[in-house]
């Protein structure tokens, strides 16, 4: 009897806690246990897609991600995880039609203070698309465009940021900003995030620059290769074999946007589109620098 009453208490407690957590949107924390922050780092990304099920199948097969649905009101939302660690969010958007949002990945960069970073973004010519909002376990986030129109988000994770270690296959490894004027683009992100800016050698179409923080490379800034495009961010997932990943992507209903090719790290990169058209980069990275690596 006494044991039964204790069980009743436990059930009651769990029910109560669950009702508290379920009072609204409850995104999981980025890290468990918590760790330090790494300002300027790509720490999260969200895919906006008209077909959540197709996207889960595609990315699950491509990167080994698993998915868990989160209640966010009218829309469907799933958290993608790799080995139990949250790595991305998938957001259902309306079916594609003229004027509807374009399926795309949204890049989340770490900031120590969303309010202050937001003010800096606006002060330097950015525009706010989604006002700062704090989620209990995830942290505070907001969405902006930079002065040239590239969309990005900032996030102060309540649990800290993914650690500065070599990304495992299936994890985010790199980001690239593709923009009309890399020079002023780098200046904007430096003013907001405090990046150091380094030159990168690339013989094609203007300057390629690199943004660094905490003595780590965080992103490249590159000129738009086509005049008919808009500035945008591209995030890269580390894979073991870029060629095989690109082939798998096409077999799963995706498309190759940029065929696998050698890049300055001495490895291979490619750009693929998922079945809805959202673009994502894939990159290999060997543990040691290969001889004769491109600089």
């Amino acid at each position: 009897m006494r044991r039964g009453a204790l069980m009743l208490l436990c059930i009651g407690a769990l029910t109560g806690l669950d009702s508290a957590a379920g009072a609204g949107i409850e995104f999981p924390p980025l890290l468990q246990p918590a760790g330090p922050e790494h300002p300027g780092k790509l720490i999260w990304a969200e895919l906006f897609t008209p077909d959540l099920n197709a996207a889960e199948h595609f990315y699950g097969q491509l990167f080994g991600w698993s998915f868990r649905d989160i209640a966010i009101g009218q829309r469907a939302y799933a958290v993608a995880s790799l080995d139990g660690a949250p790595i991305a969010g998938f957001v259902q958007i309306g079916a594609r039609r003229p004027g509807s949002p374009q399926p795309a990945w949204l890049t989340f960069l770490s900031v120590p203070n969303v309010q202050l970073a937001g003010e800096a973004i606006l002060a330097h010519g950015g525009k706010e698309l989604s006002a700062p909002h704090a989620y209990r376990l995830r942290g505070k986030q907001a969405v902006y465009t930079d002065p040239q129109g590239a969309v990005f988000a900032i996030l102060n994770s309540h649990s800290g940021d993914p650690p500065d270690v070599l990304a495992a296959p299936g994890e985010w490894i790199w980001s690239a900003l593709v923009t009309r004027d890399p020079d002023s683009g780098a200046a904007f992100y430096q003013q907001v995030f405090g990046f150091e800016v380094f030159p990168l050698q690339s013989g094609v179409r203007g300057d390629h620059l690199m943004l660094a923080s905490e003595q780590f490379a965080r992103a490249s800034v590159n000129p738009l290769p086509r005049d008919d495009s808009q500035p945008h961010w591209v995030d890269f997932v580390r894979v073991q074999d870029v060629n095989r990943t690109a082939e798998t992507a096409t077999n799963l209903g995706g498309r190759i946007l940029v065929a696998p090719h050698a890049d300055r790290h001495g490895g291979t990169v490619a750009l693929v589109a998922d079945p809805s058209g959202a673009a994502i980069g894939v990159m290999d990275w060997t543990e040691t620098s290969p001889p004769g690596a491109a600089k």
Binding site: M1, A5, L9, G16, L17, S19, A20, A23, G24, I25, G73, Q74, Y77, P101, Q102, L129, A134, Y135, R136, L137, V143, H158, D164, V165, L166, A167, I173, D183, A186, A187, E196, V197, F198, P199, Q201, S202, R205, H208, M210, Q215, F216, A217, S220, N222, P225, R226, Q230, V234, F236, L257, V258, D263, R264, H265, G266, V269, L271, A273, G281, W285
Partner: protein, 122 residues
Amino acid sequence: MTRLLPGAALGLVLTQLVSCAGGTVGVSAGYPEAYWDGPDYEYYPDYFYGPPVVYGGWAPGYYVAPPRWDGHPHDWDGHGGRYPHGDGHGPRFRPAPEGRAVPSIPSGPRGGGMRGAPARPR
């Protein structure tokens, strides 16, 4: 059983108190109230209106990847004479000091906490 009912009732009361506290200040996560804007019931992700992005078009030699850490200091003067600009104006950003080693991505093992390449003095 009847002797245990008051205990159960007390437990339920405590449960509701914990529940309220959790819903107000995020006690379970230990975050201060100011760091949570309260419960949400909708997530507005319509960020991507506007001219569509056309991806791709990367010609051979169009590099986007990070460099490898090779320990060499960078050299703005060796950057094709691009910086400072030929017209006498510098870049709009604040260049990393000449001589600072070009960093690469984090390469340490998981749990190792290895830092990147140390900054090299000028």
